[in-house]
Subunit: 258 residues, 2 copies
Amino acid sequence: MPLKRAKIRLFIEADLSAGASVRLAGLQYHYLTRVMRLETGSTVGMFNGRDGEWRARLAETGKNSCFLTVETHLAPQMVEEGPWLIFAPLKKGPTDFLVEKAVELGVSRLVPIQTRFTASVRINKRRLRANAIEAAEQCGRLTVPPIADVVRMERFISAWPAERPLLVLDETGNGRPLADIFDVNYEANLKPPAVMCGPEGGFATDELDALGNLPFATRVGLGPRILRAESAALSALACWQIMRGDGWQAPAAKAARR
Amino acid sequence: MPLKRAKIRLFIEADLSAGASVRLAGLQYHYLTRVMRLETGSTVGMFNGRDGEWRARLAETGKNSCFLTVETHLAPQMVEEGPWLIFAPLKKGPTDFLVEKAVELGVSRLVPIQTRFTASVRINKRRLRANAIEAAEQCGRLTVPPIADVVRMERFISAWPAERPLLVLDETGNGRPLADIFDVNYEANLKPPAVMCGPEGGFATDELDALGNLPFATRVGLGPRILRAESAALSALACWQIMRGDGWQAPAAKAARR
């Protein structure tokens, strides 16, 4: 039986090993001592994306920072080979939501792209990174997926890793049903794909045509309703994980929801 | 080829038939004349959940209301036999989000339930109904699914329609992988299910046990990560539609995104 996961999980940058002392300040200090009112001697989970998950004990609380002592190795680091999400930035609310849910759904890389009809090519990377960290802490992941800088779609496509299938979400009615692709009879060893969604206004027709002609890409449809960009992306990601990804595994143990 | 859907779609309560005159006031009047700045002679789509979709033309704009003339029948009324969503009310943001996305995903009935750990048993039905209408207008549906009053879970379960499978989202690790259920080899004629998700704190252990013992219910798991309640519900709904629902169909024509 795996060791029980801690109720509070924190992502930190520092190295983790038995006996190490970790100093927390700022928001993490505030969260532990003011929001959760953790007392000396209480334990939390910690991960950094490299050293697996550890149990750490609150040793000392000061005025602006606190110290924890790393104790027990709870889980070894896993390579989390999830799908990628390639997305045109949306408005603030939908973008926040898309990043949070994509992390929960096990996405291993987030790439914001600029397409013809992308209204805004700016993202607040700091805020999105904070959302991604909170989602990873909450859902029990051992990594926080990187969020790239905004890149022109053509440029990102030009350096594509051939082994990764690209699923382009196509609401024009010319996409192949996603169930076709996820059917095990279609390709038993389908690798984790990259899911690409366009901006609110959709892809331009020639963008879709060009994408559809790429040897590693498939234009896919999700049914008769026109989904918002973020809904379409999350539907495809959720369906991948459930049918072909890690949906067969069970959680190690229940983590607390914030 | 189906007739092209209108760019602006409005859900109204009145009957729709050729030649009928429809008066709009309040928010719909404001939206058409102020936000979209529609001029006399322009057309919009209209549906009421009973008479299919119609094209209507703006005939007259007054100070507080406008009149449209119903002209062409664009699509016959369809029975939209989607899955149900049974959910414990969450905080405002996640609840709004859950309702909006569930409507986009074709849910035919929304039932808020009270479980042991449900923090809030109040919902703002008026706001949720407005969200549901906007989502239906945007995604091209011909119905707006009803949102029930909050009901105790046991009470709702006691009058269950035997032909509808109930999928209880179970994050304890004791659920069956959803891919098992959605595999066509498991049951070729699986009817649209009801997806049930608990509150932020999850179901109580005895609630889960009791649900699991119901002849029409299956406890299902969604993989190794602990998803937030709304993420879990939408993942299951999206996967149902894509793999076993209407994911094989294509949109009639592209509706405008707001």
